[in-house]
């Protein structure tokens, strides 16, 4: 008896986690016109999705923005983490603490302050403002992830590299970089996902010139959601699973 209770519990949790996703998957292949009846298998919503230019445009916009924000955040974040780790300077503790402030503060606060800032400096709302905004909330996550990895890094390895003839830059590239690569990858993926599904900040700092996917879907809800959104959701799901698998593959290859 006692062995079955935990298993039942686990089954419930997994049901809770995966039933919505399963429904989405299933209905993306549904042939019926309205969402709630089953009308047999079909790819019609996928065809509809690819024919829907505004939706596809917003998808590409979102992917490009997420990739750009994640890449920039990883580059800047890694350098910031390295500086915080390596050098002892005044304000180091403060900088470290401020990272958490950005991470913990409600998104709406960040959104309003960024908007105020952009209006103040007269920045046209569009791709640039979105990129800066997404960079802002991705950055702390990358820094924290890389910092954690650096904390476990043995600095004597860099000395060993120098001793064997590597310049400082070469030692960082050949010894430190491989050591923190998992953190960089994790940071990039985290940033990519955060950017991709952000609604609040994008609502405030986005402009009509660059519409991102979550906002597009959001506005579609008001006029009635079509099942092609299910197809889109399924594609995004497959995308993120592929990204996850790829990162795992890279990490394993590095380890063995």
């Amino acid at each position: 008896m006692s062995g079955r209770l935990p298993r039942l519990w686990l089954a419930l949790v997994y049901l809770l986690l995966y039933v919505p996703i399963a429904v989405l998957l299933l209905y993306s292949f549904n042939d019926a016109r309205t969402g709630y009846r089953w009308g047999g298998w079909s790819l019609r919503w996928y065809r509809a999705l690819f024919a829907n230019d505004t939706l596809m445009d917003s998808l590409w916009n979102s992917l490009a923005l997420a990739a750009a924000a994640a890449t920039l955040a990883t580059a800047i974040g890694a350098l910031t983490a390295f500086a915080l780790h390596r050098y002892r300077f005044r304000g180091r503790e403060l900088m470290h603490g401020l990272l958490f402030v950005v991470m913990m503060s409600p998104e709406i606060v960040l959104a309003i302050s960024l908007l105020a800032l952009f209006l103040l400096v007269g920045l046209q709302l569009g791709f640039t403002s979105l990129l800066i905004a997404h960079l802002t909330f991705c950055l702390p996550f990358v820094v924290i992830t890389v910092l954690a990895r650096l904390a476990g890094f043995d600095a004597r390895l860099l000395e060993a590299a120098r001793d064997l003839g590597a310049s400082e830059a070469r030692a960082l590239y050949t010894v430190l970089l491989p050591a923190i690569l998992p953190a960089l990858l994790a940071g990039w993926l985290l940033g990519f996902t955060l950017s991709l599904d952000d609604v609040v900040v994008s609502t405030f700092v986005g402009g009509p010139s660059y519409e991102v996917l979550p906002l597009r879907i959001y506005s579609m809800v008001r006029v009635g959601l079509k099942p092609e959104v299910n197809a889109l959701g399924t594609l995004l799901l497959v995308f993120s699973l592929l990204a996850l698998a790829l990162s795992q593959l890279l990490l394993n290859k590095q380890k063995s």
Partner: protein, 361 residues
């Protein structure tokens, strides 16, 4: 030919105002095995880091083969280091670790392959080329670290307590191996240890370091038999110390009073004067135990006997309260050897076997 390979001149180094090395001068000759011996925290690692270029001296200069090293970064110093905790690159396999230094020199692939194989064979790790460091035992990791440094063919190799993490048996074996490598390759070694036995058995010369000051530099024999001061005497092996006072000097001899006994001894390395307080140092194996009726010697009681295989160690408490450690080669047939616990005896030594130091030195 005998001009030094490495020459340290009046080196001084302080961390946050606390001196770690003081006015230290030292020469390392080409091809010699020089050991830095000293207790924990005396500045051994700091000295190696200065030579390797990871730290800069506050004062003094470092020259290698006649060239000043002060402004030369670590990667351009023609010497290599075996680090205290090995510091192998975890993301590279054994081959990659050993090849790392050659790749930085942009050697052709074939040459790298060949030299790495040679280096691995030298340390008997030929079959382990594809293993990761984490998959090796401590002794094997140690050998990878040595191969990684040696493959660069440096003229000088710095080794920071390379054997301290190994168990006694492996340690003994690695000592022999290191010594063999050093002799075959003709590379000068600066070897750090705080184990005096290791220092004495492996080195051509020993530099005894204490609190950042070079106490003595000499062959293992010199350091052991003729220590420059009390610190060296006590740190390098067991020693017994008998306070004495100079009564008079007679040409080549000096007459001292040691616990009421008059002894005429050869003149020491310094110039004694009448009335001077001195210490007579005797290694445990130089002390003789005599019966209670002997006509000379200091009376005492046997309070401990330890059979050590080839030697028999005894602790004897003199009537003055001082305890004397005696180590005698075991000889079953010698009846004089058979002292029991609690028995009264006299301890003495052959005049001239002692080593005399001024008491205030």
């Amino acid at each position: 030919m005998t001009s030094p390979l490495l020459s340290l001149r009046a080196i001084g180094k302080a961390y946050a105002g606390r001196p770690v090395l003081l006015d230290l001068s030292l020469d390392v000759l080409d091809g010699e095995f020089l050991t830095l011996l000293g207790p924990s925290g005396c500045g051994k690692t700091t000295l190696l880091r200065l030579i390797a270029g990871f730290e800069h001296p506050d004062q003094g200069s470092i020259q290698l083969a006649g060239a000043d090293l002060t402004a030369v970064p670590p990667e351009r110093r023609p010497l290599n280091t075996v680090f205290q905790q090995y510091a192998l690159f975890p993301h590279l396999d054994v081959f990659g670790n050993v090849a790392y230094g050659l790749r930085r020199e942009r050697r052709p692939r074939a040459e790298i392959d060949l030299r790495v194989r040679e280096a691995l064979d030298l340390v008997q790790l030929g079959e382990f080329a594809r293993r990761k460091p984490q998959q090796l035992s401590g002794g094997q990791q140690q050998r990878v670290a040595i191969a990684r440094a040696l493959v660069k063919r440096p003229r000088l190799l710095l080794l920071d307590e390379p054997l301290s993490a190994l168990d006694a048996k492996l340690r003994r074996q690695m000592q022999l191996e290191l010594k063999r490598l050093q002799r075959e390759l003709g590379i000068a070694f600066v070897f750090v240890t705080h184990d005096q036995e290791e220092a004495l058995s492996m080195s051509d010369r020993v530099a005894v370091l204490h609190a950042g000051v070079l106490q003595q530099l000499g062959t293992p024999r010199e350091v052991y038999e003729r220590p420059a001061n009390l610190f060296t005497a006590r740190f390098v092996g067991e020693t017994n110390l008998f306070p004495a006072r100079v009564l008079e000097t007679q040409g080549e001899r000096v007459v001292v009073d040691c616990a009421g006994q008059r002894r005429t001894l050869p003149t020491p390395g310094f110039a004694p004067h009448a009335g001077q307080a001195v210490n007579l140092l005797l290694r445990p194996e130089d002390i003789r135990v005599l019966g209670p009726d002997a006509d000379h010697g200091l009376p005492g009681t046997v309070i401990e006997r330890n059979y050590k295989g080839s030697t028999l160690d005894s602790l004897i408490r003199l009537d003055s309260g001082q305890e004397v450690l005696v180590s005698e080669f075991f000889d079953e047939d010698d009846p004089a050897f058979d002292y029991r616990l609690g028995e009264t005896v006299k301890v003495s030594w052959v005049d001239g076997w002692e080593w005399m130091l001024p008491a205030d030195g």
